[in-house]
Symmetry: C2
Subunit: 276 residues, 2 copies
C-alpha cells in the first residue's frame, strides 16, 4: 500500500529535507515518527522537492510504501479512519515546526517525485521599511532598498520556457540542467511584500535562489534588465550571481495529473531526466 503525505514545515531549524547523519532534517524527523507510529524498523520516503537548509514548505508531497496491516494496527481503537488517526499520531510525535496536513492512500502509479507535473515556489521580500514584520521574519527576506518589480518582471520573461539553466544551477554529475520555467512573476501581496511566484516542471539544485539573486541585482539597479538573458545564454555559473538567502523561499504547491495519467507521467519524467 502506497500512502501520500501532504506536509508543511518551517525550515529554520532543519538542515533541509534530506537525511544527514547527526543533523536534524525533515526527512529524518518524519521517518522516525512514521517508524514509531507504524512500529516498523525503518521507512523509505520520497518527496516532490528536496528543499535546502532553511527553505520552508507549505505544499511538500511525500510518498512511502507500507504494510496495510501496520496502518490498521497503529490506529488502535481510534474511531477515526486509520489514515486520519495516523496523521494525528504523527503530529503528536514530530516538532511543531512540521505538520502533516493530510495522509491518504495514493492512487496506483503515484510517485511523489516522478508523477509531479510542476512545482511552485514563492520568494517573499520586505523591501519597504513599513512592511518589515517580526511575526513573519522566519520566511520573509528583509531588503534595505525598494525593488523595481517592473524591471524584475521584464528580466524574468527572458528566462521563461525550456532552457539549459546551467548558469543558475549547482551541477550534478550525469544530470541534465534543462528545465521548463513555466511562470515567474513578481507582485505585491496585501501586506506590501514583494512576492515572486515561480513554477517549473522541476528545478535543479539552487535554481530558484540563483534566479532570485540575479533578479534582485536588476531590481535594485546594480545590473541592467538584459543581464538575466545574458547569464542564461552563457550556460555557465557566474560569480556575480548571489544565491538568495534560503529563508525567503517556500515550496508552496506540487501538481499531479489525473489518476489515469499517473503511470505515463512517471515514464516521461524518468526518461527526460536521464537522457536529455
Amino acid at each position: 500500500m502506497r500512502i501520500r503525505l501532504d506536509v508543511a514545515y518551517d525550515g529554520t531549524d532543519f538542515h533541509g529535507w534530506a537525511t544527514q547523519p547527526g543533523l536534524r532534517t525533515v526527512q529524518g524527523e518524519l521517518s522516525d515518527a512514521l517508524a514509531t507510529a507504524l512500529r516498523v524498523d525503518a521507512v523509505v520516503l520520497t518527496c516532490a522537492g528536496r528543499t535546502d537548509t532553511g527553505v520552508h514548505a507549505r505544499g511538500q508531497v511525500v510518498h512511502l510504501d507500507v504494510d496495510e496491516r501496520s496502518v490498521v494496527t497503529s490506529a488502535g481503537r481510534s474511531s477515526e479512519p486509520p489514515l486520519v488517526a495516523l496523521a494525528r499520531r504523527l503530529n503528536g510525535i514530530v516538532g511543531t515546526d512540521v505538520r502533516v496536513r493530510r495522509v491518504i492512500e495514493a492512487p496506483a502509479g503515484f510517485d511523489a517525485r516522478f508523477s509531479a507535473l510542476w512545482r511552485r515556489y514563492a520568494y517573499r521580500i520586505a523591501d519597504r521599511p513599513g512592511t518589515v514584520d517580526p511575526l513573519t521574519r522566519s520566511h520573509v527576506l528583509v531588503w534595505s532598498r525598494e525593488l523595481d518589480l517592473d524591471l524584475m518582471n521584464r528580466a524574468a520573461e527572458d528566462l521563461l520556457g525550456a532552457h539549459d539553466f546551467a548558469s543558475f544551477c549547482r551541477r550534478r554529475e550525469g544530470a541534465t540542467t534543462i528545465r521548463t520555467l513555466q511562470h515567474l512573476v513578481w507582485g505585491r501581496d496585501e501586506d506590501g511584500l514583494a512576492v515572486a511566484s515561480v513554477r517549473a516542471d522541476a528545478f535543479c539544485h539552487n535554481m530558484v535562489r540563483s534566479v532570485v539573486g540575479c533578479l534582485l541585482a536588476i531590481g535594485d539597479g546594480r545590473q541592467a534588465v538584459g543581464w538575466a538573458a545574458d547569464l542564461l545564454a552563457a550556460q555557465e555559473r557566474d560569480g556575480a550571481v548571489t544565491v538568495a538567502h534560503p529563508h525567503g523561499l517556500t515550496l508552496e504547491e506540487v501538481a499531479y495529473p489525473p489518476e489515469a495519467e499517473l503511470g505515463a507521467r512517471v515514464e516521461i519524467t524518468r526518461n527526460r531526466r536521464v537522457h536529455a
Copy 2:
C-alpha cells in the same frame, strides 16, 4: 520635543510590554535601546496598548519626550533625516523580534495612550486541519474542532456598544470597566483561518482574550448563543469563561484624531477613565 514610534513585535519571547525587573519586556528593550542611541540615562515610554506576555503587535504606538539636541547628535554624520537615522539605529540595537517601523515628531498635544480614538486587535485561529501552518504558528492558535463563525458573530452582536465589561476583565482598583465595543466580527481570511477583528475605544485587562474565550465555547457548541449576553449582564467574572491563549492575539492598529483635535481628545479620555 515629543516623538512617536510605530512599533511591531513578536511577543513570543517577551514578558509583555511593561517593564519588569529581571525579565525581558518590550518596554525594557526599547527603553534601553533609546537610552543607548540618544546617550541619555533613561527614557520614559508611553504606549497605546499594554500587551500581556505572549501577545503580539503590528501597530503599537509609543511616545516619549526627548531633548532635540540628543536626537541630532545621535544621528552623527548620517545623510538621512535625524529621526530616520534614529529608527535605523534602534533596529540595529533591539532584537529582530522588535522592529521600529517609523519615528516621527509627534504633533502638539499628542499622547500615545490618551489621544487614541480606538484600538483594533486581531485574533487568529486555525480550526481546520488543512490550515495549520508551521510558518505562522507563533501568532495563530490551533483549535482541534471546526468553529461555527455564524454562531460566534450572533453572540458577538450582543456585546457591541457601551457596557460595563466587568465579566470579561480583571478588575483594577479604582478603575472603571466601562468600555465601548465598536466592532467584533469573525471571518475567514484567504488562508482559511478564523480571524476576529475587535475594535473598542479602549480595552480593560484580559478583555479581548476573555471575550474570545467565551465565543470559542459558543463556536464549538459547548455553550448557547445567548451565553455571551448572559455573562455581560451578570457583570461578574464567571469561572466558566476561559481566557484564550495570548499567542493568537495581535494589536493591529491604533487610530488618532486629526491634529487639531488631539488636545481635546486627551481631556475627554482622562475624565472618562477617572470618573466613569
